[in-house]
């Protein structure tokens, strides 16, 4: 099957090459385009890069940076990238700088097919929790060069969604030995010296807020936009836990979280879905535990810098359209993320893969990573179940607060405590 695929693809490519050579010699003479792609390493896979080169002839230059650096780059060095892979919450800082251009919905072929999670804030007809910077609040701009968001649908999109997910706590069931069902367990003294959270203030404080609410100490109007008093309260709870020795360490990147969990330094911590999968593929039991208070969600997408023009701009749109056309979506779905246009991703996945990752059904056969290692044995069920069950239980979204400055100062205070 592979063989004929390559043969057909080769023939198509040759035909396309001849056609391009005849129809547009000018473009052909310009040679290959490369796009500088700034983002967190989440979506920057070699597999995607190779496939883009093969399908479109576009070279992606990956520039992996931390979440904080994505914002810093976008605001301070808008000429240093051609395509920005940003999270939606970052837009509250980036859009006012005027460095991103609203993307023309007419040039995005599948703009209407993007999942209802983004377009309407609902999944399976049910409303999703919208605390924090929910993507549907910052999806549109009133004009291409606007510096503030549009309240309703327009022709200009801030970002074209790529991936999103619902985050929760990762646990080591073998070391805990009892069911975990609430965010409150993160600060349970039973796990003293064996818990961890992220040292990324804007995300860490949301996890802390989930704990505060779960223990009944306070009910936030919006966990993603706290008042100063609420920030004080949340940081006080965290500080007390830190002083009591609750935390083993804080983590800042993906691999740190994997190492903490796999080595047994921690048994309960905030985590990202693929990190749990990675721990599990190392042969260490680890569960991405659904909790009754719900998930903290995030979403990322592609944005374009205002300065992009000509051939590079065309190539960027071409790449984004390709990204939504299925292959990349399937690639990301297989890692435990969710893709923006589900129908095309489904067409690129085997039925048993779709059933496991998206429908929450037991795996009909071994689930393998792109490199062939077995991630889940046949019969396993995805933690948290189906797409609708997981995304439907989202309580809040990663956010930038109005009192962000104050929050960062309080966070530094917490680290010093």
């Amino acid at each position: 099957m592979d063989h004929t695929g390559i043969g057909r693809r080769g023939a198509l490519k040759a035909a396309a090459g001849i056609a391009a050579g005849l129809a547009a010699p000018a473009v052909h003479a310009q040679g290959a385009v490369s796009l500088r792609y700034v983002g967190t390493a989440v979506n920057q896979h070699q597999g995607i890069k190779d496939k883009v080169k093969e399908d479109l002839g576009i070279t992606l230059d990956y520039i992996p940076v931390t979440s904080d650096d994505v914002v810093r780059r976008a605001v301070t060095q808008p000429n240093s990238f051609d395509i920005l892979d940003s999270e939606y919450w970052m837009l509250k800082k980036i859009i006012p700088s005027g460095n991103l251009v609203g993307m023309d919905a007419k040039r995005i072929k599948r703009a209407d097919e993007i999942t209802s999670v983004f377009l309407k804030g609902e999944v399976g007809g049910r409303k999703i929790g919208g605390q924090g910077t929910a993507p549907w609040k910052v999806l549109y701009l009133p004009a291409a060069s606007a510096k503030s968001f549009a309240p309703s649908q327009t022709e200009y999109l801030t970002l074209i969604p790529t991936t999103y997910n619902a985050d929760t706590l990762g646990i080591r069931p073998d070391k805990i030995g009892r069911p975990i069902g609430s965010w409150a367990e993160l600060l349970n003294p039973e796990f003293k010296g064996r818990a961890s959270i992220l040292n990324i203030p804007s995300i860490g404080i949301m996890d802390a807020a989930m704990v505060v609410e779960a223990t009944g100490q306070h009910k936030y109007a919006d966990k993603g936009n706290m008042t100063k008093a609420e920030i004080d309260l949340t940081m006080k709870v965290l500080t007390e836990a830190k002083r009591a020795g609750q935390f083993r360490a804080f983590w800042k990147d993906f691999n740190e979280s994997v190492n903490l969990m796999a080595s047994g330094e921690t048994v309960i911590q905030s985590m990202w879905s693929p990190a749990v999968t990675k721990v599990r593929s190392m042969g260490v039991p680890c569960v991405y535990q659904p909790l009754k208070e719900g998930y903290r969600a995030w979403a990322a997408g592609f944005g374009l810098p205002k300065t992009l023009s000509g051939r590079k701009l065309d190539a960027a749109y071409e790449f984004i359209n390709w990204f939504l056309s299925g292959w990349a979506g399937a690639f990301l779905n297989r890692q435990g993320y969710y893709s923006a246009v589900l129908s095309t991703a489904k067409a690129n996945m085997q039925p048993y893969e779709w059933d496991f990752w998206m429908e929450g059904k037991p795996a009909a056969q071994d689930i393998k990573a792109p490199d062939g290692t077995v991630m889940e044995k046949a019969g396993a069920v995805r933690d948290g179940g189906s797409f609708e069950a997981r995304m439907g239980a989202v309580a809040c979204w990663n956010a930038v607060m109005d009192e962000n400055d104050y929050m960062v100062r309080k966070w530094n205070e917490f680290i010093a405590a």
């Binding site: 931390t66 904080d68 650096d69 914002v71 810093r72 605001v75 301070t76 509250k92 800082k93 980036i94 006012p96 700088s97 010296g193 040292n199 203030p201 830190k242 935390f247 083993r248 360490a249 804080f250 983590w251 800042k252 190492n259 080595s263 047994g264 330094e265 930038v400 962000n404 400055d405 960062v408 100062r409 966070w411 530094n412 205070e413 680290i415 010093a416 405590a417």
Partner: protein, 343 residues
């Protein structure tokens, strides 16, 4: 230039440099100027009269110009920029040129009120200084011991050089790798804990080994001891062995010889090593972050967090305060020991 020690002209430029607060960065040009001035002064009078005075004035300046230019571009200018930005205001996504005390005021907010403990800034500086003090004391002791062993206990020059090179061998791998490789050793299920448990020295894994002040200090000592060994070794190699013999002949014990002869003569090396260690530790955020499990406060970490939230002016203000503190420490040390005369 060190060969001009008996030169009677020397003491003057030395005191001149002391008057500048002994900033180590200023010394190279000071030496250059001093040399340039000293040379014609030492020449016989008739030649002096014959030479055209203007040429004498600008030639040495021109010679020193490249260094000045480099320092101006890469040291003075960025420093001034940091100082200026520390007075700016900022919002979520932009810097606002301004003259405001906001960054300094916010930094020391609540520091006047000691009733509910120290303020964040003081606590952070205290934590950084404590780590710095511990690392300094240990690296100094270790560095001195290693250098002493190499200098006075190894007879053959060949073996000495071989051992000295051996000391630098770990530097063939990256800083980060040497630091991170401690983690699997010290972890809860790491090699050290397994060994302790197997030998029945402890009955449960020891958590203080990793993500603690202990692991931070350990990593720092591992990383920076060589920075003390090298200058101290250099100072010690210049000590005339006859002085040690004289001390012994005069009836001094081994400890007395070390304390009254070796230490005073090795002081410049000790001070230079100390400056390296203190400057490196005070500004660090990576080692403290990784080995301390991100839970230990350091000034470098605060600056890093502020930078990542685009609070450049706040970070600049923090950097200015840190710089001032480090400069004071170095100034005190160079007052105690005149490095330049000893080199």
């Amino acid at each position: 230039m060190s060969s001009s020690r008996p030169d009677p002209v020397r003491p003057e430029p030395v005191t001149m440099a002391e008057g500048r607060g002994g900033a180590s960065l200023a010394s190279p040009e000071a030496v250059l100027e001093a040399g340039a001035v000293a040379a014609p002064a030492a020449a016989p009078a008739p030649v002096l009269a014959a030479a055209p005075p203007p040429r004498r004035a600008w030639a040495p300046l021109l010679q020193a110009a490249p260094l000045w230019l480099v320092l101006l571009l890469f040291f003075v200018f960025p420093l001034l920029a940091t100082g200026v930005v520390s007075l700016w205001n900022y919002t979520e996504y932009s810097l606002v040129p301004d003259i405001t005390r906001r960054n300094y005021v916010e930094m020391f907010e609540g520091c006047g009120n000691l009733s509910d403990g120290l303020c964040t800034t003081f606590r952070t500086y205290l934590s950084t200084l404590r780590l710095c003090g511990m690392v300094w004391a240990i690296t100094l002791l270790l560095g001195f011991t290693v250098a002493y062993f190499l200098c006075f206990h190894i007879r053959s020059d060949g073996v000495r050089m071989a051992l000295f090179l051996l000391c630098t061998a770990p530097f063939l791998t990256s800083n980060v790798i040497r630091m991170i490789s401690w983690i699997p050793l010290l972890g809860r299920e790491g090699v050290v804990n397994h060994a302790l448990l197997a030998m029945r020295l402890v009955d449960q894994p020891q958590d203080w080994l990793l993500f603690s002040e202990f692991s931070v200090v350990l990593a720092f000592v591992h990383l920076y001891t060589l920075f003390v060994v090298v200058p101290v070794f250099n100072s010690m190699m210049r000590i005339d062995h006859r002085l040690l013999e004289a001390a012994r002949d005069a009836g001094a014990s081994a400890w007395q010889t070390i304390w009254h002869v070796v230490v005073p003569l090795a002081k410049p090396g000790l001070v230079i090593g100390s400056i390296f260690v203190i400057v490196l530790v005070m500004g660090d955020f990576v080692t403290i972050g990784v080995m301390g499990g991100q839970q230990i406060a350091s000034v470098g970490k605060v600056i890093q967090v502020q930078m990542s939230y685009l609070q450049f002016p706040a970070a600049a203000a923090q950097a200015m305060v840190l710089l001032a503190l480090v400069l004071v420490i170095i100034a005190v040390m160079t007052k105690l020991v005149d490095i330049r005369r000893e080199l």
